[in-house]
Amino acid sequence: MNNFDEAALFILILVPLLGALLIMFMPKDRPKDIWYLAILVAGISLVLSLIIFARYDYGEGGFQFLRTFDWIDQPLNIDLSLGIDGISAPLILLNGIVLFGGVLISQTILHRNRDFFVLLLALGSGVFGVFAVRDLFFLFFFYELAVLPMYLLIGVWGSSTDFGTFLRTKEYGAMKLMLYLIAGSILVWIAILAVYVEASDAGVPDFSLTSLGTLAESGQFSATFQNWVFPLFMVGFGVLAGLWPFHTWSPDGHVAAPTAVSMLHAGVLMKLGAYGIIRVGLTLLPDGADAWMPVLISLGTVNVLYGAVSAMSQTDLKYVIGYSSVSHMGYVLMGIATLDRIGVGGAVLQMFSHGIMTALMFLLVGAIYDRAHIRDIHVLNGLSKRMRVTAFFFAIAGLASLGLPGLSGFIAEFMVFTGTFRTYLPLAILAVVGAALTAVYILRLLARTFLGESDEQWEHLTDGSLIEKGVGGAFVIILIFVGVWPEPMMRVINVSVDVLPGL
């Protein structure tokens, strides 16, 4: 381990934050320069996350890039201990990619764009933090940090939509999202406190996941304790992962959010919840996990089917994708709940794959919305005429989402299925059915929006800008690459999933 490895994660978290700070002091009447600076910052983050991912030694496994900073001393001992394993490494990469993409395509945001990028980068930093820390306090710290900017990001730069029978204002969406996520996080907080108290009774007053993990391994957490604390983690983190019935913040949030925020929200933020369940729930409370998994996997299945069925009759592009995210996060939850190494590995891969896929979808929806100023799939039609590349990318993303082999979604979903088949056969069958339902709404969307003759009113539309095409193309390449050759991703994920306790 050289110096870079020791500092890498800290720098990774710090770069977006410092970038945000720097942008704060830019003159606000030069939006272009602000954008360039944000690109630079996000670019550095991306490069760092790439390097970190590439340097993660999957042969060795375990936590790497370790570094611990003392934060506060006794009696409340909290350290900022950094380190990533094979589960967080892909997610860090994911965040780097999506953040960079999000910043790039935010070129169109000119109104108060300084604030926008400050918040966006803060969000990115929070997400990096969650994936990079090994301490409950800081996990929670960064978790909240990632949620915090969402309110303003949606509230200020979002859009309100009138659906005829009901109205979804950006204020409503933002407030609901914020309160809902914080509501989830308070459960997590309570659970963290409970764990701390329990550990402290066992003589280890510590928030460090490492020492708590050791404690859990030695069976210091009684089954009763685990059984009542685990649901707190499960639901608390589950809210962020869109666990049914706590998912409604997500589609509404998407409908209100600006493009880049939707990308990060569905692409990365929802993954935090699932990651939390794995990292905290499974590691610390294996018995509780064992006891509650039937519930989680049932809810996950409901997620899959419910999300897909809901998406079928939505008319707003973002609602369709929003519900599709709910559905796909269901696979992640199912995969985790199998407590099977294949299933959990599939869940992690699904997080990555879904992150890229949804980000791509929202990017393209944003591109369409910017031009057509509408997202109603009954009104939009024949867009492939004018927006060839956009349509093509959207088709790829859609196909990835319906689990077409050769794209990353298939591998991930397939692994989740296999894992579930071994453990909960009936639910696995339902999950496969859910994948077929995905085809229904994706094809419906593609057919209505992109195919067919285009109306005159859409004749003026132009194809995605070079940036949109570039970012979209990169995402498409990632989807295909992982779909065709998942081994580079899988071998990293495997080393850590294999050693997860309780599987």
Partner: protein
């Protein structure tokens, strides 16, 4: 032989290249695509030669990749390369080379090559010319992978990819709403079958611990896998096969799929993709035939019902392409029937013969369409005069498929009948013969009405196929005529197709004379009958039509399958979906989320009234607080 993986790879490589650089490539990428599939065809021959020259003992390249399969009793070679693994899940790229694969490879590469060449002419001038060839390449690649796959997962991967290519090509002219809908329908209907397939594959994996086909077969035949699971897995695989091969009740997508360009119909919806289901059942035959071979009963019934139903519809349909589509369904049914009757060889043989003939028919139909832009046979007639070559090849195809002796269709159909006769009870052979009869009838009907008789008005300017389209048709016609001879015992080593592609004991060519003669008579009779009815008009069907009007109506409406499905989708699925969407908004969100939130806020608004603004009520609150505190304290300390 281990280079067989190159066959699909050419095409896989071609597809993205055409998408990205299409505009800059010669022929917008078409040339590249044709080169790729041509390369595949060449490699196929190399592999075939190597295979024929190899023997298990000779151990090609000193590796033990080749062995004699205990099921097919023929040489089988397997080459694997690791793909990825997760925990105990090991996934491999693996190809299997055995007679079944080889004949499929031959069919796919050849027909694809022909169709692509044909398309050069047919699709000329289309704005999305390059895209068309890109998808074609991708399709060819996926289809070749499908037949090469040695494990179920890779098969599934290819299975889905051919599905999506089919979707893209059916919807190629997506400006037409019908094409759009047809594409969607095709994908979703087959996808329903795929659910079964995937579940079946996963079930096998659960039992066997691997996706490898040979291990699954091993487990099924040795009894390592229980009878229940084996049967369930077989039925689930069959579901997938039924979806892809358009068996009842999943057949509804195939007629609609004719919305795609005609060469696509020829390649995908006649010769290659739709037979994937048949191929799957054949490939997984050890699972189907394990224990008491119960699943085969299902297969045979499905096949028979499909064959009968589709051929009746084909009899009354008037759209040339749809007639061919229903004919395809019917013949796919026959193949299934054959498989269900243990007619492994017969099924594959018919698959090939039908593939060539039906591709030919479609290309012929395409040629008609190309120049007349007319699909309804009732508005055609006498086309022989303006497009003689097309008429000729179409007639060859029709006669071949109709089962007129010495053309290939006759031999393959005969093998099927023989198998059914040998293994299933008499009802099956009766109905199978009936199907054969009808198949001859509708082919004759289509052929006579469209190409013979008086030339319709307004068709004088119609031209025959350009040479780019004619050459492929001619080549296919040769096969439609002569392919059947492969079934004979030729002098030398060759003992007929049965000695090459077989399951279990090899058997040479045998001919059940009474069946052969019966079917030949029926076929010839049908053509004569049709000639009388449609061309000469000597026999009128009006009386019969009147008598059977109710039944005819049912048949003309395709047994109302589409209506039922539409009803289910509109009234059940969509309504259910809307209910869920409403539930999500009104119950989960408004009641479940907003109500608690609003009641908290309302609670706040109510609670704030306690700060009245009057100083004495503040003091009163303090006093009450003290009293409460005192009472509480009292309880705590006593």
């Amino acid at each position: 032989m281990e280079w067989a993986w190159l066959i699909p790879v050419f095409c896989f490589a071609a597809a993205p290249l055409i998408v990205v650089f299409g505009e800059r490539l010669p022929g917008k990428g078409a040339i590249l695509s044709i080169l790729a599939i041509g390369g595949g065809f060449v490699v196929f021959w190399v592999v075939l030669t190597a295979f024929l020259g190899a023997s298990p003992a000779s151990e090609i390249n000193g590796t033990a990749d080749c062995f004699t399969s205990e099921f097919t009793e023929s040489l089988t070679c397997v080459y694997e390369h690791s793909w990825f693994h997760a925990a105990d899940l090991e996934l491999v790229w693996g190809i299997i080379i055995d007679p079944l694969t080889l004949v499929m490879l031959g069919l796919v590469t050849f027909v694809a090559l022909m169709v692509q060449v044909y398309s050069l002419g047919y699709m000329k001038g289309d704005p999305n010319f390059g895209w068309y060839f890109a998808v074609h390449s991708l399709f060819a690649a996926a289809m070749l992978t499908l037949v090469l796959a040695d494990n179920f997962l890779l098969l599934y991967v290819a299975w889905e990819l051919v599905g999506i290519c089919s979707y893209l090509l059916i919807g190629f002219w997506h400006e037409r709403p019908s094409a759009r809908e047809a594409a969607k329908k095709a994908f979703i209907v087959t996808r329903i079958g795929d659910v079964g397939l995937l579940i079946g594959i996963l079930l096998l994996w659960r039992e066997v611990g691997s996706f490898s086909m040979s291990e699954a077969f091993e487990a099924a035949s040795t009894g390592a896998m229980s009878e229940g699971v084996t049967t369930a897995a077989a039925i689930l695989l069959l579901l997938g096969a039924m979806g892809k091969s358009a068996q009842v009740p999943f057949h509804v997508w195939l007629p609609d799929a004719m919305e795609g360009p005609t060469p696509v119909s020829a390649l995908i919806h006649a010769a290659t993709m739709v037979v994937a289901g048949v191929y799957l059942v054949a490939r997984a035959f050890p699972i189907f035939s394990a224990y008491d071979a119960d699943p085969l009963v299902v297969v045979v019934i499905v096949g028979l019902v499909t064959a009968l139903m589709a051929s009746t519809i084909a009899l009354v349909a008037t759209d040339l392409k749809r007639i061919l589509a229903y004919s395809t369904i019917s013949h796919l049914g026959l193949m299934m029937l054959s498989l269900g009757a243990f007619g492994y060889t017969a099924a594959i043989f018919h698959l090939l013969a039908h593939g060539f003939a039906k591709a030919l028919l479609f290309l012929g139909a395409g040629s008609v369409l190309h120049s007349t832009e007319e699909q309804d046979i009732q508005r055609m007639g006498g086309l022989r005069k303006v497009m003689p070559l097309t008429a000729l090849v179409f007639s060859i195809g029709a006669i071949s498929l109709g089962g007129i002796p010495i053309l290939s269709g006759f031999w393959s159909k005969d093998e099927i009948l023989a198998a059914v006769n040998d293994h299933r009870n008499v009802a099956f052979i009766v109905f199978a013969l009936l199907t054969a009869l009808m198949s001859a009838l509708y082919m004759a009907r289509a052929m006579f009405i469209a190409f013979y008789g008086q030339l319709r008005e307004g068709m004088e300017q119609v031209h025959d196929a350009p040479w780019l389209m004619a050459v492929p048709m001619a080549l296919l016609a040769v096969l439609a005529i002569g392919f059947g001879f492969l079934s004979f015992n030729w002098p030398g080593d060759y003992d007929g197709i049965g000695s090459f592609v077989s399951f279990g004991e090899r058997h040479g060519f045998s001919f059940t004379w009474w069946l052969g003669i019966l079917s030949a008579v029926m076929a010839v009779g049908s053509f004569l009958f049709a000639w009388q009815v449609y061309l000469k008009g000597r026999i009128s069907l009006d009386n019969a039509k009147a008598t059977f009007a109710p039944i005819l109506k049912v048949v003309e409406n395709k047994y109302y399958f589409d209506e039922v499905y539409q009803w289910v989708i509109d009234r059940v699925v969509l309504v259910f979906s809307r209910i869920i969407a409403w539930f999500d908004r009104a119950v989960v969100n408004d009641i479940g989320v907003n109500t608690p939130a609003n009641s908290v806020r309302r609670l706040g608004y109510t609670l704030r009234l306690h700060v009245t603004g009057h100083v004495y009520s503040y003091t009163l609150a303090m006093v009450l607080g003290f009293v409460g505190l005192g009472i509480f304290w009292w309880f705590r300390s006593t």
